[in-house]
Amino acid sequence: MTGYIVRRTLWIIPVLWAIATLTFFLMHAVEGGPFASEKPVPPRIEEALNAKYNLDKSLGEQYVLYFWDLLHLDLGTSFNANQITVRELLAQGLPISIQLGVVAFIYAVVVGGALGVIAALNQNRAGDYLGVFFATIGTAMPNFIMASFLVIIFSVKLGWFAVLGWGGPEWALDDPTTWARNFNPFAWDYTRVVLPVVALGTLAASYIARITRASMLEVLQQDYVRTARAKGLQERHVIARHTLKNAMVPILTVLGPIFVALVTGSFIVERIFAIPGIGRHFVTAIFTRDYGVIMGVTLFYALLVAVANLLIDISYAVVDPRIRYH
């Protein structure tokens, strides 16, 4: 098992290198540069700017320079006039995107899982329809529509929640003493948490509900469940030990991608609630040709996907003893 984890971890490096290389050449292949503006700067100044950011060198040289800096964990500087480094940019936005993603993930798992289980145990009865209804609405409604609905009904009309911003406590990734704040329930401003989380997490919750329901239904029909019941085992033991645990494998498979999608995929929700996370950089950096930011954010997302997949693979072994790693 340890050998497997080490091997898989080492594999992340070439994967990241391949993604970085591809992104590097793709983004430079796109027309337009970071310094194009309505009132063009004189050629001499533009040359100076290009020289400052190594953009005057050949693509090959830029590539080598970028990877040299990357090896030293230097992600470069954003091209905007603030001269902020890409690391600072990530350090500002990530804590917020992570909070939003993690809370939405918890919401999706709890609500989706619960509805899925209830639906499966009440097949073709009220509980089932409730779950299926939720799953259908959640899947059918894109999150920008749902977010707008939620804001107009619950913020503008009813005034229960705030429209703008995120209510999580401030914390920093590189300062472990601040991590505990996330677990203090009184540090959260829930009026700025509920709507973004519901808007972001409902699609995932619906998906989890459907997978859980289908998986549970399948397991419930297995011979060993019937046997367990025939032996007179208490129903809650049948469900918890024999059904739920065995139904977990397909659910776990989707949780990894869902987790990553929630932490990274909050661009629209961040925009609708004006939350200063990392999602907007992912999109605006491409429009402004902010090469350093494009690379930094892409690499970070790639790392996140790789690590999440690794964790999910490891967790299979925990829930399904038949799976062994070599």
Binding site: Q92, G93, I153
Partner: protein, 558 residues
């Protein structure tokens, strides 16, 4: 089976209930707005000083994210908006173009040859940190704009200051820039040539002061908040990227104390989001997008501030098809600007054929070119026939370069439809992202695109000089016409306003009537919702993100 139906019914009812909740809610809200404030009028902006205001108070207004707050670098309207809240210069530019002394003690003294400007600086001025603000800081400010390392995007506007271009271009030295402090309160500027509009430039951000004690050197970076040098009514104390910028009242500002204690600039990219937040009471002033205009334009808190900005079609003059004057005029005359404004602009713009807005000093009167380039379907058909394409037969096809946006999609479809109907020609549209459009425009790699101009200072000169002369740096449409060149060359050096404006009118007439890289379509305005409790917000004629002079803003007494 009975249960299935029951649940289906429940589902349908739920959806209906939600829909009604939203629809009915809207109505209630409108009634409240109409009924609740029957006496409120839209001239709120003008009655700021009527005495019924509270002392202090805080407001939150919407803005988009600035790139930076360096007055000697920036050229983005949102950057400039914030810079004018946090920094001030020698003069304020009032609507209509009048100059009001700010840090200057009176109007500048000009030498007989028009080359030397002497400006007295008010005594006892201070930066927010208590440091002295005197003539030396103004010298330092202009030196920064001309500095090649700062690479100020607005340096071109100071090109007439002796030595500025050379220094910026890397040839001269900072000591040769024609600015000096002969004593602590006397600021002297030397020009290359006399320029009648030069005083207006002393109201613009590239001439704002820089703290000569606060910055290590002339090419040092402008510090970010909370350390940004602050000479204006409000100082930036915090900037959380993507979230907000906090401005607090500058206690050391001596040019008329700000009334509010604090302004929070909330960064919101999406104006529909801002509208929701405004309606939920979280914001006091927002910009309104054209898309949202129909639902807010009848409200009492809506304000439309017309701006001297002109948007038009820009043909590339070296294109084999578009270098034919008849083709260009046919396109211009086949475009119904009134209808365009209704369909694309929600009726919020001012349709025009003028390039320089008529209210600018030195402009031609409104509609002066309608007979030549205005909408006339029959004339357009005839022009296209004269060009050799009767009813569009044999027309080689035309491609328009547009930035991909909701508004541009409607605009593109509108032109496609109208030119198809009237001229029988096919227009194809190349939608690209902003940077690609800019790169192609700057390298003159397009046939037809849209573009425009908003003035830096109110004078026809700013709309023409540097834009339409042969080889001018921003003349990417490659307009090249001896008559225009001659008129602009004369206007540049003429110091008598009437004679100068005459030349500028001539140049504008020639540009518009020959569609030399520009076919004007409309003048644009900014749309705001302003909380009726916020008073003293005067319309601005500058293309800023927010109205100017936040020191006059105040909350109405309870």
């Amino acid at each position: 089976m009975r249960k299935t139906k029951w649940w289906m019914l429940f589902s349908i009812l739920t959806v209906f209930a939600l829909t009604f909740a939203v629809a009915c809610g809207d109505d209630d809200d409108d009634d409240d707005t109409d009924g609740g404030n029957p006496t409120a009028t839209s001239d709120d902006g003008d009655n700021g000083d009527n005495g019924d205001t509270q002392a202090g108070g805080e407001i939150t207004v919407q803005i988009t994210e600035p790139e930076g707050l360096d007055p000697h670098f920036s050229d983005f309207s949102v950057d400039i908006t914030v810079i004018q809240m946090t920094n001030r210069g020698l003069y304020d530019l009032l609507p209509g173009g009048e100059l009001r002394p700010a840090m200057a003690d009176g109007m500048p003294e000009v030498s007989d040859d028009g080359l030397t400007y002497t400006v007295k600086i008010k005594e006892g001025l201070q930066w927010s940190d208590g440091e002295t603000l005197d003539a030396n800081d103004f010298v330092f400010g202009i030196q920064r704009t001309c500095d090649p390392t700062i690479a100020g995007h607005y340096q071109y506007i100071l090109t007439n200051i002796a030595g500025c271009d050379d220094y910026y271009g890397g040839e001269g030295s900072v000591d040769d820039v024609g600015v000096a402090a002969t004593d602590n309160n006397t600021f002297v500027i030397t020009l290359h040539t006399a320029q009648a509009t030069f005083p207006s430039l002393l109201a613009l951000w590239p001439t704002y002061p820089a703290p000569d004690e606060g910055l290590a050197s002339v090419d040092a970076d402008w510090p970010a908040p909370p350390d940004s040098p602050c000479s204006g009514p409000f100082c930036p104390t915090e900037w959380v990227a993507g979230d907000h910028i906090t401005l607090v009242k500058n206690e050391n500002y001596s040019l008329g104390e700000a009334k509010l204690d604090k302004i929070t600039l909330r960064i919101i990219d999406d104006l529909s989001v801002a509208l929701n937040a405004y309606d939920a009471g979280e914001l006091d002033m927002i910009r309104v997008s054209t898309t949202d205009l129909p639902q807010v334009r009848d409200r009492d808190d809506y304000q439309n501030i017309a701006l001297p900005i002109t948007i038009g079609l820009e043909p590339l003059m070296t294109d084999p098809l578009l270098k034919d004057l008849n083709v260009r005029l046919a396109l211009s005359r086949a475009t119904d600007r009134e209808l365009l404004n209704e369909v694309v602009g929600e009726g919020a713009n001012i349709p025009t054929t003028n390039w320089v807005p008529a209210e600018e000093p030195g402009a031609n009167e409104a509609g002066a070119f309608d007979d030549v380039v205005g909408f006339d379907a029959e004339a357009a058909k005839k022009l296209l026939a004269d060009a050799g394409y009767p009813n569009g037969e044999g027309f080689p096809g035309l491609t328009m370069l547009l930035t991909d946006s909701e508004g541009n999609r409607v605009l593109g479809e509108f032109l496609q439809e109208q030119w198809k109907q009237i001229l029988g020609i096919e227009l194809s549209i190349d939608f690209v992202d902003g940077q690609t459009r800019q790169a192609r425009f700057n390298s003159s790699d397009f046939q037809l695109t849209t573009g425009g101009w908003g003035h830096d200072y109110p004078d026809a000169e700013n709309w023409l000089v540097g834009l339409y002369e042969t080889g001018a740096s921003i003349n990417k449409q490659k307009c090249s016409d001896p008559e225009i060149d001659a008129a602009l060359a004369k206007a540049k050096v003429e110091t008598d306003n009437e004679a100068r404006w005459e030349e500028l009118r001539k140049a504008e007439r020639r540009i518009v009537e020959t569609a030399c890289g520009m076919m004007p379509l409309y003048h644009r305005g900014n749309h705001y919702l302003i909380n009726e409790k916020l008073v003293g917000v005067t319309p601005t004629l500058e293309d800023h993100y927010l109205p100017q002079f936040p020191e006059d803003w105040a909350l109405a007494a309870e």
